[in-house]
């Protein structure tokens, strides 16, 4: 029996590798969010426009599901996913809140002027601390928060390709 042990170990490892390699949509760099199922962290930040009211966690407890998107004007993938955010807001009637991560408000606003503004509300996370409280590792990241303020889903990286149809919309649908 013991002479088969090395062979068995090798086959088991090969099985493991094969499983992980062929797993759909797996990115070895992705860190799974540990925030899912937890209430959204408390925060209070200024809005992007000088005269706009600030953004707080209370804005996430409206009884309606809300998408919270962390973005930045300097972030290239954010540009790539913008179309999906526009579609979410315009075509699917989702409430999307934008938090500008470590970006000056005027640049963020210019970014939205250029590409369109999908956000119902915006906030400026100037020092990036709100993002850290949410466990964000980089922009863009998008969280789905249910009406009671609990985080139910996180989309890591830009919503591109079939990410919208296959992941974000079903998650949103499940809340309704």
């Amino acid at each position: 029996m013991q002479r088969f042990a090395p062979l068995i170990i090798v086959l088991a490892l090969a099985g493991l590798f094969f499983m992980m390699m062929t797993q759909e949509g797996r990115n070895p760099n992705e860190i799974k969010s540990v925030m899912i199922g937890k209430p959204a962290p408390a925060f209070s930040i200024p809005g992007l426009e000088a005269d706009a009211p600030g953004l707080t966690d209370a804005d996430l407890r409206t009884g309606e599901p809300v998408l919270v998107n962390f973005f930045a004007s300097w972030c290239v993938p954010c540009r790539a996913e913008h179309e999906s955010l526009m579609a979410l807001a315009r075509e699917h009637g989702a409430t999307v809140i934008g938090i500008a991560y470590k970006d000056t408000p005027d640049r963020s606003l210019a970014f939205l002027d250029e590409l369109g503004n999908p956000f119902a509300k915006t906030g400026a996370d100037l020092d990036g601390r709100v993002a850290i409280d949410w466990g964000v590792t980089g922009v863009p990241e998008t969280f789905l928060v249910d009406g009671s303020g609990t985080i139910v889903y996180r989309h890591w990286g830009p919503i591109v390709g079939d990410g919208l149809e296959a992941q974000v919309l079903p998650a949103l649908e499940a809340l309704k």
Partner: protein, 154 residues
């Protein structure tokens, strides 16, 4: 082909951009606290890098996390408090030293488990009666020539 190319370049950009060193922050005034903070930074994994601690990384987020570590240590947090704070947000992933819990028992036990297993196998195989392989005279002669007179010079 071009897609593979782009993917490749993107990987490179993502993986190595963070490798350059960071020497940009202000150390804490209190040398004891600074030392404690630095020690702690070595144990925390940069969340966007490959196997680097936040102390070794130049990534933006690593810089922010260093800042947080320093602030919290300055405020009087213990290293364990700071770790708990980060684990709450990023999970056990941020700890370069995996915490001891049921899922990691095997990991931490592996040196002893493997050692015990191998020693057991060796001892078991020794117990088996093994007939000394008889050498033919010819073989013996060959062996003697090969081994030479010296047996102690391995």
């Amino acid at each position: 082909m071009m897609r593979a190319l782009t993917a490749f370049l993107l990987t490179i950009a993502l993986t190595v951009a963070a490798l350059a060193v960071a020497v940009d922050e202000k150390p804490l005034e209190d040398p004891a606290k600074e030392a404690m903070a630095r020690e702690l930074m070595k144990e925390l994994r940069c969340v966007v890098c490959q196997n680097q601690s936040i102390e070794d990384s130049n990534a933006d987020i690593a810089r922010d996390l260093r800042q947080i570590v320093r602030e919290r240590i300055a405020m009087g947090d213990t290293p364990d408090n700071v770790k708990a704070y980060l684990v709450d947000r990023y999970g056990d992933y941020v700890l370069l030293e995996p915490p001891l819990k049921p899922t990691t028992y095997f990991l931490w036990g592996s040196p002893f488990i493997f050692l015990g297993f191998v020693v057991y196998m060796v001892l078991r195989s020794r117990k088996k009666p093994v007939a000394p392989a008889p050498l033919s005279a010819e073989e013996q002669a060959e062996l003697d020539t090969i081994l030479g007179k010296r047996e102690d010079d391995a």
